[in-house]
């Protein structure tokens, strides 16, 4: 029997597209409509052989299948006996599980951290320092006529961002640039065809010349046209840069410099140099003209700013630029959040503890000092003595030196799939996939909460993150009260 489920929210990236259509045949997802490549990959491979099927506990160096009860007791024992455990991950699960996570972190006096610490942590630090003039993606969809992607490549990381929220979407007040783009593609395809015909005529084909120098082109005249404009600023020509009206290739590590120069130009200062970060100042002047003369502009920024030299200072200056621009026109700025519920992880952590990430409960009350209480630093200083990883893969995504200390201590992993961290774990829990086999709540990158649907049943006997965490928390409380009784 086949049924169709509409308006499913995609649990992959921070776009949280909620227009996915799934066809379910005999209780299995058979077809995905409207989704991007990552969305299809997630919905169609949820049942593949890499799924964790039963709880595992490491005995004599090998992971052996056990019951949930045994694994929960083992995990609770590890956490209850630890002095300074790490509770990390959280960005690929729902807010309901994250809430239990905060309670558990407080109970065991550990460090609660989410994946923001390795991506947009610096952005949060900047926002706390200088504030953020922002808006929802809906406003951008309907009103933005200038979209700038700085240090991010949505075509690769948030594939439907352009078509749902920015340049290629049909808004109420701003039209889609999709047709223009298709015309450009057709024109360039025609050109290529001609070239290939020419090549066939010549018997000795010349190899394509290798471009060895970075050249920033002059801004096109279309930059001053009416309608939506797309500008990309990055250190390399990305997929998104290829569809942009204008692409600026900034020298690596010089985003700060470039942004300061743009700030100066927005304030009508003159620059004494010919170029900044490899970009001629006269081109920058045209760019600034486009920025100042737009009706409503927006800058999206990504890891290009937060993970390269300067980190949160890059974001500081980006937000300050928006502040300057808002004196002349209307501008907003948004971080491109990666995981589908990393914004939720920050939000839940903030409303429960007062801080968005890197929260240390070891003194009995929440403390926040990224650089000290952040998980990578705790690992590098070799201070933690156990770890609980939920819906994340730090063994793949943390620098090796940090992972060395992570695996040197007892490691509990809750994840639907076998990944590098689970392979190295001591207790591994399979979990239902949030947004496919479990309903919940997630926050989109612009802080709009959206419901996630349960579309199919989880494999028999498989619990959700929330249930597993609640049972671990219960068991920790039992073990702790037993210990107190023994001590009395």
């Amino acid at each position: 029997m086949s049924t169709t489920v509409n308006a499913v929210t995609c649990p992959v990236c921070g776009c949280l597209c909620d227009d996915i259509e799934l066809t379910i045949e005999n209780g299995v997802i058979a077809k995905v409509k409207n989704g991007c490549a990552m969305c299809e990959s997630k919905f169609l491979s949820y049942k593949n052989e890499h799924r964790n099927k039963t709880p595992l506990v490491r005995k004599e160096g090998k992971l052996v299948p056990v019951s949930y009860d045994e694994a929960i007791h083992k995990a609770a024992e590890i956490l209850a006996n630890a002095n300074y455990p790490i509770l990390y991950g959280w960005s690929s699960t729902d807010c309901e599980a994250q809430r239990v996570g905060v309670e558990l972190a407080e109970e065991v006096g550990g460090v609660l951290d989410n994946t923001a610490v390795v991506c947009h942590g610096p952005s949060i630090l900047s926002v706390q320092e200088v504030g953020i003039p922002t808006c929802t993606l809906g406003q951008i969809r309907h009103r933005a006529d200038l979209v700038i992607y700085w240090g991010c490549d949505p075509w690769s990381a948030h594939p439907r961002h352009l078509e749902r929220y920015t340049t290629f979407t049909e808004g109420r007040f701003e039209g889609s640039e999709w047709k223009e783009y298709m015309n450009k593609v057709k024109a360039s395809a025609g050109k290529k065809k001609l070239l290939s015909l020419e090549r066939r005529e010549i018997v000795k084909r010349k190899p394509e010349p290798i471009i060895e120098k970075v050249t920033v082109n002059k801004p096109p005249e279309t930059l001053s046209k009416a309608g939506r404009k797309l500008i990309v600023i990055d250190v390399r020509k990305t997929m998104t840069a290829e569809v942009a009206d204008y692409f600026i290739q900034v020298q690596p590590g010089k985003d700060y410099e470039l942004m300061l120069a743009i700030r100066a130009l927005v304030k009508d200062h003159e620059l004494d140099v010919d170029q900044v970060a490899g970009v001629p100042v006269e081109y920058l002047e045209e760019l600034v003209d486009a920025m100042v003369n737009c009706e409503f502009g927006v800058i999206f920024f990504g890891m290009g700013l937060t993970q390269s030299a300067g980190k949160f200072r890059n974001v500081d200056v980006a937000i300050s630029l928006i502040r300057d621009l808002n004196r002349r026109t209307k501008f907003a700025i948004l971080p491109m959040r990666g995981h589908f519920n990393v914004t939720g992880a920050n939000t839940v952590s903030t409303w429960q503890s007062g801080y968005p990430y890197s929260v240390d409960f070891s003194l009995g009350y929440p403390r926040y000092n990224p650089g000290e209480t952040s998980v990578v630093d705790v690992l590098l200083r070799k201070e933690s003595d156990a770890a609980l990883i939920v819906a994340s893969d730090p063994a793949s995504n943390f620098p090796r030196k940090a992972v060395e200390h992570l695996v040197a201590n007892p490691l509990i992993v809750i994840d639907p799939h076998m990944n590098a961290t689970a392979l190295l774990g001591d207790v591994v829990f399979p979990a239902a996939i949030v947004g496919i086999e479990k309903a919940g709540t997630a926050y989109r990158m612009d802080h709009v909460p959206l419901p996630l649907k349960k579309v199919v049943e989880p494999p028999e006997g498989i619990l959700s993150d929330e249930e597993i965490l609640s049972r671990i928390l219960e068991e920790v409380r039992v073990i702790k009260s037993q210990k107190m009784q023994e001590a009395a």
Binding site: A37, S374, V376
Partner: protein, 133 residues
């Protein structure tokens, strides 16, 4: 003239192939192929005398790893190499959090040399060589 070694700046980041691979599962062939590779500038590859899909050894102060070199298909990026996020990239990435908690995943100085005879380690082999598990 063909050079033995090339000094470059290492960037790590997302690619759509890596995104598809990670959603399919970290143990899949898609994930392995999309993360155990390294985009290089065409001019830099010429300098090293290597072709597309030749194995290279990338070394930083944190270690070294063998990867498959792939010519960057869009424009020039001389002096830069780009490895998609994953265990291979993080085997050599800088762990310096510059006092604010976020490691410097972009902008690590690195050296690249051709290693056509060295094999790329699988996920299990890589973890075993790094952490003994």
């Amino acid at each position: 003239m063909v050079q033995q070694k090339l000094r470059v700046t290492l960037l790590t980041g997302r690619t759509i192939e890596q995104g598809v691979g990670k959603e399919a599962g970290k143990g899949t062939k898609e994930y392995f192929e999309s993360t155990s590779m390294c985009y290089m500038d065409a001019g830099d590859m010429k300098k090293l005398g290597i072709k597309n899909n030749t194995n290279i050894l990338v070394t930083t102060s944190n270690g070294s790893v063998v990867l498959r070199a792939v010519k960057y298909p869009r424009g020039a990026m001389p002096g830069l190499i780009y490895i998609p996020y994953g265990p291979w990239a993080n085997a050599i990435c800088s762990s310096n959090t510059t006092g604010i908690g976020t490691p410097s995943f972009k902008g690590t100085p690195a050296e690249v040399e051709p290693a056509p005879d060295k094999p790329i380690l699988t996920l299990e082999e890589l973890l075993r060589s790094e952490f003994g598990r």
